[in-house]
């Protein structure tokens, strides 16, 4: 049984990526491929919707970190939304909460790009 799923969609000028389940070093390649696919298609406004993400290790956080500069250089950003308390505390441990926007819901995250 798979422990991690990934899908994404593009709404107007914002790409939304949905990691689901347990994101660790075992399945991080699929997460990276999805991010790369979005960037490759010139999507520079990226929302990571963590509603169904139960766990993330540094492997997953490294991907979010590794492409941020490239996206910001192009005028875009990566924002996170719908992060559960248990996942938020992991992001907070390494200081992600000071670098990235964490939004309550997807709509607010998309609106942040549009305004």
């Amino acid at each position: 049984m798979k422990s991690f799923y990934i899908r994404s969609k593009v709404v107007e000028s914002t790409a939304i990526i949905y990691p689901k389940g347990h994101l660790d070093a075992h399945n991080v390649e699929r997460f990276e491929k999805e991010i790369l696919k979005l960037i490759g298609n010139n999507n520079i406004n990226v929302v990571v919707n963590c509603r169904e993400l139960n766990y993330i290790s540094s492997a997953g956080m490294g991907i979010i970190m590794g492409y941020l500069d490239e996206i910001r250089e192009k005028g875009g950003d990566i924002k996170l939304c719908c992060v559960s308390e248990r996942v938020y505390e992991i992001f907070d441990l390494v200081g992600f909460t000071e670098i990235y926007d964490f939004l309550e819901d997807e709509e607010t995250a998309i609106d942040k790009f549009n305004n």
Binding site: S3, H22, D24, A25, H26, Y55, S57, S58, A59, M61, G62, I63, M65, G66, Y67, L68, D69, E70, R86, E89, I90, L93, V94, G95, F96, E98, I99
Partner: protein, 139 residues
């Protein structure tokens, strides 16, 4: 203090596919040892990071090397000892600077920092061909 003999030990092959099982096991062990749910999850994450580093850096992603985990319980805390061979770990003493890492487009380097921030002590040692990573969390 901790007993000389571990209360529990398991051996696993160096497969990242087993990380989730280890995380669930360590989370359970920490909870049973009276750590809060939040602390238990963090301890499990620290062990995930340590094993990921062993597989990636010491075993270069070879899937059939041995990793032994020993758990020592005490009313005051929990000690996890990870025993492995392969390339001895070389740890950076430089503090993690997230902004610098983002500028340098780095994808790695957060694991050991997470271990250090979660656990009260993290010590690596190499004796002959045997490497150990010993982590302690006090209550």
């Amino acid at each position: 203090m901790f007993q000389i003999k571990p209360e529990l030990s398991i051996s696993i092959p160096s497969k990242t596919g087993l990380l989730k099982m280890v995380v669930e096991l360590v989370n359970h062990i920490a909870t049973v040892n009276q750590f809060s749910p939040s602390e238990s999850r963090k301890i499990a994450l620290a062990v995930d990071e340590a094993i990921t580093n062993v597989i990636k850096h010491s075993y270069k992603n070879e899937r059939n090397e041995d990793i032994k985990l020993e758990f020592y319980f005490s009313p005051k805390g929990l000690k996890v000892k990870i025993i492995f061979t392969g390339v001895p770990p070389v740890l950076s003493e430089v503090d993690v600077n997230l902004n610098r890492m983002i500028k340098e487009k780095k994808k790695g380097g957060l694991g050991v920092e997470l271990m250090r921030r979660i656990m009260d002590s993290v010590e690596y040692q190499t004796t002959g061909s045997i490497n150990t990573c010993e982590m302690v969390k006090w209550k």
